[in-house]
């Protein structure tokens, strides 16, 4: 078990490292372009042409003429030894590290709120569907799930704003700070994964309910509620757990669009405004942070299997 954990953890670190290298190389692959970007943001202005001399000057100043892997290893050692992710082109007095860490909190809050909706709505509805298999209520809920998987989440977000903010005036259109602000973005973000979780819980529950130990429990005369909550649910939820990890990643990716719509000051919003401004150091850091969060959550899910299902052994 410990051996497995260490191996798995080392693999996690390696993957994060490789992903950060990939993101860095991708975004810094064209040295001339990087120099031009810096010049546009620091010296001449966004629209103007950049002279070759300026570019050469900047390339020399920021070591852009070094081979790309040297630049990457400098960036990485800065991150590891000094907690320094470089400086932003746009927010000149703020380090990327500050920008990213300020944005991290709101994103995590939004992700947790959405995950709560997914769990609280998804699991009971899925179980309800399984117990009422092929009855009208099951068919209606399943129809609704297929429909919600087909909505673009950003469109749903705009429709929610149209109905609940602009028409009914129940929630603010956008912003951050009060509890009312989180309701619409969390709903928009969680609808898709909730639908998926309902379907998986239903399938998994039906499979479990068909097993012999359940039949035995029924024959023994246990009450239906007892069987459902004490016998069936534990086995039925194991596949759901894997899925929650994967869908946490989708949630993180989804926040990129949803935060943008609701002006939520998180990583996704920072990423998009930085892409628009070609603020490459911030873009790189945001992507690395999102990938790292995704991988860490999946690592935790993998590890927690053992505690939820002791039958699962690791090699």
């Amino acid at each position: 078990m410990h051996h497995y954990l260490i191996k798995r953890f080392a693999f996690l670190l390696l993957t994060i490292l490789a992903a950060s290298a990939l993101a860095y190389l991708m975004l810094h692959a064209v040295p001339g372009e990087t120099a031009e970007n810096v010049a546009r943001h620091t010296i001449v202005g966004i629209e103007d042409a950049v002279s070759e001399e300026t570019k050469a000057e900047i390339s020399a100043k920021y070591n852009l003429n070094d081979p790309i892997w040297v630049q990457y290893s400098n960036w990485l050692s800065g991150l590891i030894f000094h907690g320094n992710l470089g400086s932003s082109y746009v927010y000149k007095n703020t380090s990327v590290f500050t920008l990213v860490s300020l944005a991290l909190g709101p994103t995590i809050i939004l992700a947790i709120a959405s995950m709560l909706i997914v769990i609280i709505a998804g699991i009971p509805l899925g179980m309800y569907c399984a117990v009422h298999e092929n009855r009208p209520s099951d068919l209606i809920i399943r129809g609704a799930t297929i429909l919600s998987i087909s909505f673009p989440s950003f469109w749903l977000a705009l429709m929610l704003i149209l109905v609940f903010s602009l028409t009914l005036d129940w929630f603010p259109v956008s912003g951050y700070g009060t509890p009312a602000n989180i309701v619409l973005p969390a709903i928009a973000l969680s609808l898709h994964p909730t639908a998926v979780v309902i379907r998986i819980v239903r399938t998994s529950m039906l499979e479990t309910l068909g097993q012999q130990y359940i039949t035995f429990a029924i024959a023994k005369g246990l009450s239906w509620g007892h069987i459902l909550w004490n016998h069936a649910i534990k086995n039925a939820l194991i596949p759901v757990l894997t899925l929650l990890g994967v869908y946490f990643g989708h949630l993180l990716a989804g926040t990129v669009i949803i935060e943008n719509i609701f002006a939520w000051p998180g990583i996704g919003n920072l990423l998009i405004t930085s892409v628009d401004a070609r603020d490459i150091p911030v873009v790189t850091s945001c992507i690395v942070v999102i990938v790292a969060m995704f991988l860490i959550v999946n690592f935790l899910v993998d590890v927690s299997y053992h505690f939820i299902d002791p039958r699962i052994r690791y090699e």
């Binding site: 994060i16 992903a19 429709m159 990643g249 990129v256 669009i257 699962i312």
Partner: protein, 303 residues
């Protein structure tokens, strides 16, 4: 445990390799039993026709700006009303179908082909080749959802070709992983081993024996994936990263119209419904296909 990854909610049911009986008669029989699936097929056909003949079908030039007609409601002249620049929303929606379907189908087909080849090679040869290819797949799948495509587009800039490249690069890994699993699960079956014993070259074994027997789940996944790709393309264009202005696209229509959410919601409602409708059709199609080709279910019912 780490070998198994669930890409799609229901892909779990697709993953295990089963001998899939795809004889024509059974296929016709299964399709005949499912009127819903037939309707889906017809609708997909209709969509393709609309996309191809968009220039003929659309009543107006989608780029014809006419400021005096802006934000008109639904009327017989403008079926879906007009947008904030007075362009006919019905025509824009039809041309948008062209863009979305083109990008989605091209990138899914390329990703499918590339992923299948890589998955076949990794699964069949194993060893160091498998190790290298699988680590590449792991690395790509470490980027959740649209993040990798987004990073690529941030690097390359907007454009239809760039969008296809970005989507293809971020999607092929899923097919490679599924195909690899499929090939590994059948490569030691008797008929493959006999082919090897008979001295058939690897190339022939892969093409004649492994590929046809492993491909079905991958094709089903691709069908389910088309809807997903349409959503991703729309999302990236909504953010202003995907399709440059001037090309009608549903996501960018919503992105441009969101300023007019209060005054002219049709700008957003129409393209959003178009996306939902198309994605819904492809989701139904994929699920229908999975049910039809999934022998497992019959076995469960019989047994």
């Amino acid at each position: 445990m780490s070998e198994e990854i669930i890409i799609n909610p229901d892909a779990r049911r697709v993953l295990p390799a089963r001998s899939t009986d795809c004889s024509k008669n059974r296929l016709y029989h299964e399709v005949g039993k499912r009127p819903g699936f037939q309707i889906c097929l017809v609708l997909v056909g209709l969509l393709i026709v609309v996309a191809i003949f968009a220039p003929v079908i659309s009543p107006y030039d989608p780029e014809a700006i006419s400021v005096k007609d802006k934000n008109l409601g639904i009327s017989s002249a403008h079926l879906f009303g007009t947008d904030f620049l007075g362009r006919d929303l019905f025509s824009l929606t039809i041309w948008g179908a062209r863009t979305s379907l083109f990008i989605a189908s091209v990138s899914v087909v390329i990703a499918l082909a590339f992923g299948t080849i890589i998955g076949c090679l990794a699964g069949y040869y194993g060893g160091i080749i498998d190790e290298i290819l699988s680590r590449c797949v792991d690395l790509l799948l470490a980027f959740p959802g649209i993040i990798f495509a987004l990073a690529l587009l941030a690097f390359m800039g907007a454009g239809i070709l760039n969008m296809i490249i970005a989507i293809t690069i971020s999607q092929w890994a899923i097919y490679a992983r599924l195909m690899r699993g499929q090939v590994i699960s059948i490569k030691n079956l008797e008929y493959v081993q006999s082919a090897r014993t008979a001295g058939l070259p690897d190339r022939r074994i892969i093409i004649r024996h492994l590929f046809p027997n492993a491909i079905m789940p991958v094709v089903i996944l691709a069908t389910l994936d088309i809807g997903h790709v349409i959503l991703s393309v729309a999302g990236l264009s909504f953010l202003g990263l995907g399709i440059p202005p001037g090309i009608p696209e549903w996501g960018s229509m919503i992105g441009a119209g969101k300023e007019f959410l209060r005054t002219a919601p049709l700008n957003i409602i129409v393209p959003g419904l178009a996306i939902t409708f198309v994605v819904l059709i492809f989701n139904f199609l994929g699920e229908g296909l999975r049910d039809i080709l999934d022998v497992h279910k019959d076995q469960v019912n019989i047994g």
